[in-house]
């Protein structure tokens, strides 16, 4: 029972923080809401008993990604006086329409489908199971993803570096 109450609290926090990300008028407030949203997703992984993913989520999203985003926001503020620039474009009504219709369809499908779960709740996914399957069945994608990270790192440095004569 306590789990359900906690789950609803965290779900409400995630939805509230995500709404804050997309509706807030200030870019910095949006980035701080994003930290809350990502931490809430980490809590969802705890509810799903995948502690390894929860840890990775807190470390990478709650730490690294949000710090990077905050840094980029502060580097690209147009107005040093802090005057808020318009954050929403002219296509806002269409975005609202698409978002509302998408959530209606997705929720209807999720509730109408008979998923056929056993009714015994989430099964524990141990870190040993993840690593065994990762290194036996997904060896090549694992190596490829490390190459991808390296290429992205070098590419980001080349893109963001100050060239001579600039």
């Amino acid at each position: 029972m306590a789990t359900e109450v906690l789950w609803w609290i965290f779900a409400a926090a995630i939805v509230g923080a995500s709404a804050g990300v997309v509706f807030s008028r200030s870019v910095l407030h949006a980035a701080i809401f994003l930290i809350g949203s990502m931490a809430g997703v980490g809590a969802m992984y705890v509810f799903l008993t995948v502690e390894f993913l929860a840890l990775v989520q807190f470390l990478i999203y709650g730490g690294a990604v949000t710090v990077l985003i905050l840094l980029a926001l502060m580097l690209t503020r147009r107005d040093a006086a802090g005057r808020p620039e318009p954050v929403n474009g002219p296509q806002l009504p269409f975005a609202l329409l698409l978002g509302i219709s998408l959530v209606t369809i997705l929720v209807a499908v999720a509730l109408d489908t008979a998923w056929g779960d056993s009714g015994e709740g989430p099964a524990n996914i141990a870190i040993e199971t993840i690593s065994e399957r990762m290194f036996t069945g997904f060896g090549v994608p694992f190596v490829l993803s490390s190459v991808l990270l390296l290429v992205a790192l070098i590419g980001a440095i080349i893109l963001a570096r100050q060239e001579e004569g600039e």
């Binding site: 995500s18 870019v27 990762m134 994608p141 993803s145």
Partner: protein, 102 residues
């Protein structure tokens, strides 16, 4: 016990908020943050399906690990592009960077 549908509805709401953010916002960094929301919603879905339905119990978690890896690479590259755009055009609004628009 929390039923599977709760996770699906939560992730549907989060994904739609992300879609709204991608379409409505002008600032490139805000669009990137909305994309992160969508990626996380998909991760919740993957892990929920793995924990509730998959007899193997692990494939969805592995997919979530790969999503997090690719999202980290994507954030690094996208922010480098935004910083470069800001240096060349003194703006980070996507509708002002339209010189390749036909």
């Amino acid at each position: 016990m929390v039923p599977l549908e709760n996770y699906l509805v939560l992730s549907a709401v989060m994904f739609s908020l992300g879609v709204y953010g991608v379409l409505a916002r002008r600032n490139a960094v805000l669009i990137l943050m909305s994309v992160e929301l969508m990626l996380n919603a998909v991760s919740i879905n993957f892990v929920a399906f793995a924990a509730y339905l998959d007899p193997d119990k692990v494939l969805g978690a592995i997919f979530a690990v790969f999503i997090i890896t690719v999202a980290a690479a994507e954030v690094g590259l996208a922010l480098a592009i935004v910083i470069r755009l800001f240096r060349n055009r003194a703006t980070s609004n996507v509708d002002e960077a339209a010189s390749m628009k036909w």
